[in-house]
Amino acid sequence: MAAAPEAAGPAAGPAEPNHGLRILLIWLPLALIADLVIWFVWGPHLPPGDMSTSAAGQQFAIRVMAVMAAPVVLFVLTYSGYAMVTWRTRDGDEEDGPPIEGNTRVQVSWIAITAVLVLSLFVFGLVELSAPAGAGAGAGPSPLWKPGGKPLVVQVIAQQWLFTYRYPQYGGFETTELMLPVGQAIQFNVTSLDVIHSFWAYQLAVKADANPQVNNVAYTTAQHTGEVTLRCAELCGLWHGAMFDYGHVVSVAAFQAWAQATRAKMAKITRTLPAYATVYHPNEIKGLAKFYYEAGLPGAGGGYYGPQYYPNQP
């Protein structure tokens, strides 16, 4: 950082004003106003909103980071503006600028303050990622943080190019509709049947990669009822862009009614589904592999199907 130029000598002119104090007096109210505007005016409207605990957590984290970053940005801008106005070259002034050899006090202060800011944000970020809501991100099959009580388990099954959902606590029925109760902890078990997808429930601030044969767990609790935009957030082929839908957060009573009705409606197809599991191995349909083996068939599904998976073949 450039230090304020020093007077050339006792006869050089009037004493230099206290530039540091001036800059401070300009910067301080600007930073204060900016932080108040960010926190109270802009903050409540920052994405992804506060529809769920994880969304509110993300919004809070963004507000904190913005409030900490704004004074730094404003200081750089204030100093730059002040320098351009105060230390600019005047008409007729062809003298070289004073040699600048650094200012240890300013440099140490700058490094120390920014280091404290960045490191404190680092710790803050780590805490926000793990607790209290797991940030809504996929945390793998064994998340460090788990909500108390018994969450509602919703399995998200991705396939080119559709998400389906299984509700193991309601008989394991599967449906294309995502319906969630408000105020209850939700455990999303996210997996894929083919390529890598990513389940993104925008308003809930839940985003978890859907990998084949991996169970990626994400938690959230919806705080408000309403519509949720669902998208695939991982380029997954021709119709990736069309892989979106809408889910719904409803009252607990409405959810119970929907779950019971859907369970009954889907009973026939549920009987043909594999037993609920956190991941599915399509090539382990033993009866099918036997059929393939005995028929001598190759199977169009490439490595997924075929006689090589028939365990009893000689």
Binding site: L162, A300, G302
Partner: protein, 232 residues
């Protein structure tokens, strides 16, 4: 070489390169099968009859071993190799689907559920029409060689599994479009088109033979096992 000759050479080279770029853009990047129009002459309120077939091979593309759909032209009655179908909005579409391909298991048995059709059912020629005679609503592709392909329009909640031809069957189709003397299954169902818009449809069987896990090739190429309904 004279200046004129050099200028002419440059001009020819420029035209050749520009022509190559235009050819690639038009014939490869923007290439799309013809739209088969079911709206011409359609009287509002009247149903539309659409006949389609799924063939294991075709003789009309650069990929003869890719499975693909054909649709019968409502104007000429000829089979057209296209998966872009223009349909009238808010209209009942009666679909007759011939399936000439053999079976593969569904990667997700949930897609064995008939959904989004009128009555939530389909009928399959030669089979009992469900337990109560109202139609078939579920096909289990794991128990036998049950399903060859699906016709699914996710945005409409429409999905119909087509039962496949047994591998051991005689007279299998070897030339597309297949002919009715080839072994096939016949499925019928109806659905109601929504308001105007483009609605993609696809097959949920991993039927891209020779691609990784069956996900590519025919399954991911418009004109073969996916396309869109151009509802007007």
């Amino acid at each position: 070489m004279s200046v004129g000759a050099r200028a002419a050479t440059l001009l020819v080279a420029f035209i050749a390169v520009a022509g190559g770029v235009v050819f690639v853009v038009i014939h490869i990047l923007l290439a799309e099968p013809a739209t088969v129009n079911f709206t011409a002459g359609h009287a509002t309120g009247r149903p539309v009859n659409m006949t389609i077939m799924t063939d294991p091979v075709n003789d009309v593309s650069n990929h003869p071993d890719w499975v693909s759909y054909f649709v019968k032209s409502p104007r000429t009655g000829k089979w057209i190799h296209s998966t872009i179908w223009q349909l009238p909005a808010d209209t009942r579409i009666n679909v007759t689907a011939y399936e000439f391909d053999s079976c593969d298991p569904l990667r997700n048995q949930f897609n064995g559920l008939v959904r989004g059709t009128v009555g939530g059912v389909m009928s399959v020629s030669g089979e009992a029409d469900g337990a109560n005679g109202n139609g078939i609503s579920v096909v289990n592709s794991d128990t036998t060689c049950g399903v060859a392909h699906t016709f699914s329009v996710p945005e409409l909640g429409l999905s119909v599994p087509f039962e496949g031809v047994l591998y051991t069957a005689k007279n299998q189709c070897t030339q597309g479009p297949c002919v009715m003397s080839d072994t096939h299954t016949l499925t019928r169902f109806s659905f109601i088109t929504p308001g105007p818009g483009d609605y993609r449809w696809q097959c949920f069987i991993p039927c891209g033979l020779a691609s990784v896990d069956g996900n590519g090739h025919a399954m991911s190429t418009i004109g073969f096992m996916t396309g869109y309904l151009d509802v007007a």
